[in-house]
């Protein structure tokens, strides 16, 4: 096969649009079938005519520049241009051209790909991104995005205005420079965990404002996926919750004060009942009994009346002591947390017919009264809630101490109860237990599985002595 024939076959079979034009006068010498399909012009109609004559180039200047470049001995690569087809439709091409010599004549061999759809998609994407930026910058919250590698790829103007830094400074891990040092690690850990599991993330942290003040933010994010399911990072928002936190802190402080006052009042009342009223009553019984002894046997009616009065005083003393012990456990003060917890478990077990196992080891010294009282009240509230609201099979109570902390674990076997039901107990609830624990730097966790049971754990650090 002659080389001319080979060239012609390759020319026609090429999947890209090819044209061969004269470098002298721009007239078409040949075009292939792909060119015909894209432009709508048939080969026979345009051979001998120029692209300018058929109005193909939307910007003829581009074609002229291309010829100049080629004439200066340089090839032309990847220029984007727009053509008008025979039907008037505009299409976008990406082309290259070379100067070749055919039969001694300088010619321009051009090759072009139709990138109309791609260009349209790119324009659409640009438009969408622009819309996104307009929306993202007009909402009063922070908007952020990351890539699949956890690097930040975008924060909106709200963030930039808040931090007073440039977008470039915040990209990647730059944004973490604004985090409060106490919150940074927890924040990054939360994000890392969520990224690993591709789960929604929610985290609170303090962010440094441009004036150096820190404000609390709540950030929420969700994973993004491409249509083919490929993970492409996270998108999320963050809002300033400092006012809410301040309110919560104020509420917490108030709750703690109320709890403290309430406990103090209970102790005071318990002492009045046991240490004052009951002690005074305790002086009555010997007097009554001495009086009874001194009466002659014949005064049996009077003796019986004195005996009845003595019994009544004793009963009142018993009831007052019960009332006092219910308000404040003397065992807690005298013997410590382990013994008081064991006594409480036994009382609840007796009263409600529930099996309660209680184990206590390495209890805090009696000098750690605040810690002991706190955990005792938590135990009291949870046991009461369990017997009040749940179908309880049995309860295991475990108290264990280490050099640094004391842990209380209450496992209630039965139908399990919603922790919110704790709200019914003496007007207290989980929130109240949390506030009570906060008073001594402790924390609470509640885990309920319906039909299995509920486990409540409280941990309190021991202050150094």
């Amino acid at each position: 096969m002659k080389s001319e024939e080979k060239f012609s076959k390759l020319f026609q079979a090429n999947p890209l649009a090819l044209t061969l034009t004269s470098a002298r006068d721009n007239r078409y010498i040949d075009v292939n079938r792909v060119f015909e399909r894209i432009t709508g012009w048939e080969r026979d109609e345009i051979i001998g005519r120029t692209p300018f004559e058929i109005g193909l180039w939307m910007e003829p200047r581009l074609r002229a520049q291309m010829i100049c470049t080629l004439a200066s001995g340089n090839p032309v690569h990847n220029i984007e241009f727009t053509v008008r087809t025979r039907s008037g439709e505009l299409r976008v091409g990406l082309g290259s051209a070379e100067l070749v010599e055919i039969d001694g004549e300088p010619c321009v061999l051009s090759v072009a790909a139709d990138i109309t759809e791609r260009a349209r998609d790119a324009a659409l994407l640009r438009e969408r991104e622009e819309h996104f930026r307009i929306v993202a910058n007009s909402v009063p919250v922070v908007i952020w995005m990351t890539g699949p590698d956890t690097h930040c790829t975008y924060v909106n103007q709200v963030w930039l205005d808040f931090t007073g830094r440039s977008l470039e400074m915040e990209l990647g891990y730059g944004w973490t420079e604004n985090l409060h040092p106490d919150d940074a690690q927890n924040c990054l850990d939360c994000y890392a965990r969520a990224f690993e599991r591709r789960e929604p993330v929610q985290v609170e942290y303090r962010l440094r404002r441009r004036d150096g003040q820190y404000r609390w933010f709540l950030a929420c994010g969700v994973p993004r996926f491409e249509p083919n399911g490929t993970f492409s990072g996270y998108i999320g928002s963050a809002m300033d919750i400092s006012s809410r936190r301040e309110l919560e802190d104020a509420l917490s402080a108030l709750s703690q004060r109320l709890i403290d006052e309430h406990d103090g009042e209970r102790v005071r009342l318990a002492r009045v009942l046991d240490d004052d009223i009951n002690q005074r009553l305790a002086t009555l019984t010997p007097s009554l009994q001495m009086l009874e002894r001194r009466l002659p046997a014949s005064e049996f009616t009077l003796r019986q009346a004195l005996e009845d009065a003595t019994h009544e005083v004793q009963n009142v003393m018993r009831d007052l002591h019960g009332l006092s012990a219910g308000l404040h456990s003397p065992t807690l003060d005298v013997l410590g947390l382990g013994a008081a917890a064991a006594g409480l478990c036994r009382q609840i077990a007796d009263r409600y017919g529930v099996v309660i196992g209680c184990r206590a080891e390495a209890m805090p010294p009696k000098s750690q009264l605040a810690v002991s009282r706190c955990l005792f009240h938590v135990l009291e509230d949870v046991l009461q809630a369990a017997v009040d609201v749940g179908s309880v099979r049995s309860i295991d109570v475990s108290l264990s101490g280490t050099v640094d902390e004391v842990a209380l674990s209450i496992h209630v076997r039965g139908s399990g109860f919603d922790p919110d039901q704790l709200a019914g107990v003496q007007g207290l609830g989980v929130r109240s237990l949390q506030e009570r624990l906060k008073l001594v730097g402790g924390a609470l966790s509640v885990d309920t599985t319906v039909s299995v049971g509920t486990t409540v754990c409280a941990r309190v650090p021991l202050p150094a002595q």
């Binding site: 009951n278 019984t285 018993r318 209680c358």
Partner: protein, 211 residues
């Protein structure tokens, strides 16, 4: 109690009215050698007055009656301790006897019961008010708080090494914990066993084969 001699009784209660009432009631059958309303002076009063019996309240400010019992047991082991208290918890009763009590009577008990308790104690027996019988039986049945002192595995580990003569630091290194943690376990064990010195602790370990 013999008919010839009335027991010498020291009354210790922070409630003066109770002290006076008891003193009057017991005057016919006991010699009241003193009345102390301040917990801090009880031990010294016992040493000075050498009573046969100390009638002791538990709920006293500054030093509670159970702590005083431990101290009196050390300084005056022959003295009998009779608790007269408001506290009805079985845990208190158990701890009272663990600390050397001879009798436990409630303030709401009939005072004649107190006379009985004193006689029983003077005859070398123990006495617990029948008013607490139900509570104690229930607690014994439950068994949770009346069990003998039990050391944790970690406390035993510490004890074993201390018995072998290791110092706190060496014990800490052997167990790969801090010296503070070793001290914590040691003092928890001492509290559980109601032991006041390291020497007593070592003796306990040897006696109970924790070596």
């Amino acid at each position: 109690m013999t008919a010839m001699r009335h027991p010498r009784v020291l009354l210790a209660d922070d409630h003066v009215l109770v002290l006076n009432a008891m003193a009057k009631f017991l005057a016919e059958e006991c010699v009241i050698v003193g009345e102390v309303s301040d917990g801090l002076t009880v031990v010294a009063a016992v040493e000075r007055l050498q009573p046969d019996i100390v009638l002791l309240d538990i709920g006293m400010p500054q030093v509670d009656g159970l702590t005083l019992a431990r101290q009196i047991r050390t300084t005056s082991p022959a003295v009998k301790l009779v608790f007269l208290t408001m506290y009805e918890d079985p845990e208190m009763v158990v701890d009272a006897f663990r600390n050397g009590a001879s009798a436990y009577v409630l303030k709401r008990s009939a005072v004649s019961e107190l006379s009985l308790a004193i006689r029983e104690v003077m005859d070398g027996r123990k006495y617990i008010t029948p008013l607490l019988a139900d509570h104690l039986v229930a607690a014994l049945h439950d068994g949770s708080e009346l069990k003998a002192p039990i050391l944790t595995d970690r406390q035993k580990d510490v004890l074993r090494l201390l018995v072998r003569g290791l110092s706190m630091k060496e014990t800490a290194a052997a167990l790969n914990v801090s010296a503070r943690t070793v001290a914590f376990h040691k003092y928890q064990a001492m509290a559980e066993l109601n032991i006041k010195s390291t020497a007593e602790l070592i003796q306990y370990a040897v006696k109970h084969h924790i070596v």
